[in-house]
């Protein structure tokens, strides 16, 4: 069964780019959220196998959203998508329970390499 992914990013551009990467690799994009509040709600609803999480977003940051998602499901797989120069935020996200991270700019194969590893494939 294809793995289901929830894409969280406030930029539609990034969401589309990630969606293409995942679709091409045989994942099912279960949902997309453009802020942290929506991310938590969609996670609860969709129970995806994987979440890609932007960090800097309106209403609720990716770090807070990750913390809540991990509280909901300690086994949740959340991969942070951060921009260069956000290392301290990524580290904070890891403390909050993020499984792993990717740093923008990323190529499709970089994303998939990380994702496949964290999913144990």
């Amino acid at each position: 069964m294809p793995k289901r992914v929830l894409i969280v990013d406030d930029a539609l551009f990034m969401r589309n780019t990630l969606r293409d990467i995942f679709s091409a690799a045989g994942f099912t994009v279960a949902g997309e959220a453009d802020d942290g509040v929506q991310a938590v709600n969609l996670f609860r609803e969709l129970k995806p196998d994987l979440v890609t999480m932007d960090i800097v977003m309106p209403y609720k940051s990716g770090i807070d959203a990750t913390r809540e998602i991990v509280q909901l499901d300690p086994n949740a797989v959340v991969v942070m998508c951060s921009a260069l120069g956000q290392e301290s935020l990524v580290m904070e996200a890891i403390e909050a329970g993020a499984t792993d991270f990717i740093v923008k700019p990323f190529r499709g194969e970089d994303v998939l390499a990380v994702v496949k590893k964290v999913l144990g494939e």
Partner: protein, 685 residues
């Protein structure tokens, strides 16, 4: 590798442009109000979003600028005291440069000015403390020496991170967490914090007390992303457990708020959205729709209505019992179609703020150029108008603002001499009243000079001196809308000369609105734009003249009547009169007004009697064609310059139809000006 052909390039450009436009007004707010954390966060977020997407596309210049600007923003947020003008200027420069970059993304060569700007941003940031180092650094692991069962085997672990690893500190943290999950981590060298901001290729060594087999530990670590090489072996000898005082109880402290995090309360457990602090309402979920798609939707909703109108006509020709039943169904369908149309209309509503967003920046620059200090106040930013109205209003509004800044407001010295504060005030407001939106541009400047306007109007031969002198001051202000009449002789760099208030008036009227002026000498001037909330369905009377069909808005039509004027004046009459409901009404020929040939034979002709501002007049046409309900759209250039036309619509058969503007027709006929004979037809349709 800039991927100019990336399939989402246009999306990136759209999103980035939107962010940058909003950024500009947010930067202006930095100077106006003591900046609060949410404003800084919003500014940071926009810059950050542009950077992230640009990085994915490989636009390194955009990334460089946005990154440097972002760093400066992060430090300015942490700065105490006032923000320097130079710092805001620098952020403006960055925003401008980004806009420029985004406009011409395909330019290949490295731009010298980018390097300089990035340098300046970096210098400004360096002068300020780094909040990430002072406050927002992730809490280091509590300095509690780990204690492990001395009987457990010790493993020496070495992990080499891949050279391409962009965030070794974060990666080290993942390694650290993995190790902790397998046993007691006694040592880790270097620590994640030490690896922060370093390039990849780091080697991390660890001492782990665990029962887990070496192979298992190795496999777990190799499975991590960005780990190139792993060595795990039994440590030579178990070290004695660390002795020392028991660790002090560590108070549970949540990690410090990251610099750019917004304050958001924790959500409830329920499925309902988290409760929000007042003023921090989360909007309903939205999707982004191409504006064009909404336009098409509107056209199609209109098509459905036209189809229903044709069905109705067809139904009338059916034998009676069937006709009645069908008409009842059609009526039901029509109500639904109307509702659909209304919903599409409201989906097209756009907040006034989308128009005013760019103005604070424009006014700031204007004020600097004019050596004036101007405070811009925008009210009613959330009042919504139809997208078409918003788009068409952009130019007129910035014209009025420029005009007010340049001509309306005095320089600080003049103002002080007049007993006013040196800082001029410009207020832009939008408010809704039933199905109308009033947009006002108000300044507290010198006010308009009625006498000068009268002189100018006479000089430009727009009217006779007698007519001008007969005007009240209020009526004289309206002379400013005449082409070529301006209150000041000197054309300035800012407002220029040429495109005048007449263009503003034409644009507003083409939207079915009107514009008026209120002015008090020494106190200021207000331009009031009265606009339709949305482009509504208009009931049109279709008339034919010289082979062309025009629509006349039915709400302006008093009645239609047949009358034979040729007996009295023959062909080519300009202004005669006919008797309507016992009242003498001036009559004009539409063919003559528009310079069209009349195809009607001599004899009685249909007249459409209209009423504008209480004045009645009649227009002769060749034939009355019928009635149609239709969506009125504003005219596009150059048709929008034609007096007497209100808009355009598409008939059910797909043919475009020009819709007449009764007010414009009245002006064309000259019915408001009893002192002048009716003018000959101006611009031909």
């Amino acid at each position: 590798m800039p991927s100019a052909s990336h399939k989402y390039l246009t999306l990136f450009v759209a999103e980035a442009s939107e962010h940058l436009a909003t950024l500009q007004s947010e930067l202006v707010r930095l100077e106006q109000e003591p900046p609060a954390a949410p404003l800084w966060d919003a500014i940071f977020r926009r810059m950050h979003s542009v950077k992230g997407s640009a990085a994915t596309l490989g636009f390194s210049r955009i990334v460089d600028i946005a990154h440097a600007a972002e760093n400066l923003i992060a430090r300015l947020k942490g700065k105490e005291g006032k923000i320097e003008r130079a710092e805001v200027d620098l952020l403006f420069a960055a925003t401008d440069a980004l806009v420029k970059e985004i406009v011409k993304l395909d330019k290949k060569e490295e731009d010298e000015s980018t390097i300089t700007l990035v340098d300046r941003l970096a210098k400004a940031a360096q002068a300020l403390p780094d909040p990430a180092l002072t406050a927002a650094r992730p809490a280091p692991p509590p300095p509690v020496p780990p204690v492990a069962d001395p009987s457990l085997p010790r493993l020496d672990v070495a992990v080499v991170l891949s050279k391409t690893c962009a965030a070794p500190g974060a990666r080290a943290m993942i390694v650290q967490r993995k190790l902790k999950a397998m046993g007691t981590l006694l040592e880790l060298e270097p620590t994640p914090a030490q690896l922060m901001q370093q390039k990849g290729g780091a080697r991390i060594t660890a001492l782990l007390a665990t029962l887990t087999a070496t192979d298992e530990v190795r496999e777990a670590l190799v499975a991590l992303p960005e780990v190139d090489h792993v060595e795990v072996r039994m440590a030579p000898a178990a070290r004695p457990p660390e002795e020392g005082p028991p660790p002090p109880p560590v108070p549970v402290v949540s990690p410090p708020q990251a610099a750019m995090r917004e304050k958001t309360p924790m959500p409830g457990r329920s499925l309902t959205p988290a409760p929000m602090e007042p003023g921090e309402l989360r909007p309903e979920p939205t999707v982004r729709v191409r504006a064009e798609a909404l336009d098409q939707l509107l056209d199609q909703a209109a098509d459905v209505m036209h189809g229903i109108a044709r069905l109705r006509d067809a139904a009338k020709r059916l034998p009676e019992p069937a006709a009645a039943r069908l008409e009842a169904e059609i009526d039901r369908l029509r109500r639904t179609a109307r509702e659909l149309h209304g919903r599409v209309m409201s989906a097209r509503l756009t907040p006034f703020s989308s128009l005013t967003e760019r103005l604070p920046r424009a006014v700031r620059d204007l004020a600097h150029r004019l050596n004036k200090t101007i405070e811009l106040d925008v009210q009613g930013a959330d009042v919504e108008l139809d997208r078409t109205v918003i788009e068409a209003l952009g130019d007129p509004l910035s014209h009025l603002v420029r005009n007010a800044a340049d001509h309306g407001l005095e320089d600080p010295e003049t103002r002080k001499r007049a007993g006013k504060p040196g800082r001029g005030k410009l207020t832009l407001s939008a408010r809704r009243e039933r199905d109308k939106v009033f947009v006002e541009v108000q300044d507290d400047g010198r006010g308009m000079d009625a006498a000068a306007l009268r002189r100018k109007a006479v000089k430009s031969a727009a009217m006779t001196k007698e007519a001008a002198d007969a005007l009240s001051d209020d009526a004289a202000y309206e002379l400013a809308f005449l082409p070529g009449v301006s209150t000041r002789d000197d054309a300035t760099e800012v407002s220029g000369r040429g495109v005048g208030l007449d263009a503003v008036q034409r644009k507003v009227e083409s939207l079915g609105g009107k514009v008026s002026i209120r002015s008090t000498p020494g106190k200021g001037t207000t331009f009031v734009l009265e606009l339709p909330l949305s482009l509504s369905m208009a009931n049109l009377l279709l008339v034919q003249v010289g082979g062309e069909i025009y629509g006349v808005p039915l709400h302006r039509v008093l009645l239609t009547t047949d009358y034979d004027l040729s007996a009295r004046g023959g062909e080519g009459f300009e202004a005669r009169s006919l008797v309507v409901m016992g009242e003498l009404v001036r009559a004009y020929g539409l063919a003559k007004l528009f310079g069209l040939p009349s195809l009607a034979p001599p004899g009685p002709r249909p007249f459409v009697v209209m009423e504008v501002d209480g004045l009645r007049f009649a227009i002769s046409v060749d034939r009355l064609v019928g009635q149609e309900e239709s969506v009125l759209k504003p005219l596009f250039p150059p048709l929008d310059r034609v007096r007497g036309l209100a808009g355009i619509t598409v008939l059910g058969n797909g043919r475009p139809l020009l819709v007449l503007d009764p007010r414009g027709l009245a002006e064309l006929c000259g019915i408001h000006d009893p002192l002048k004979p009716a003018p000959a037809a101006k611009g031909a349709a």
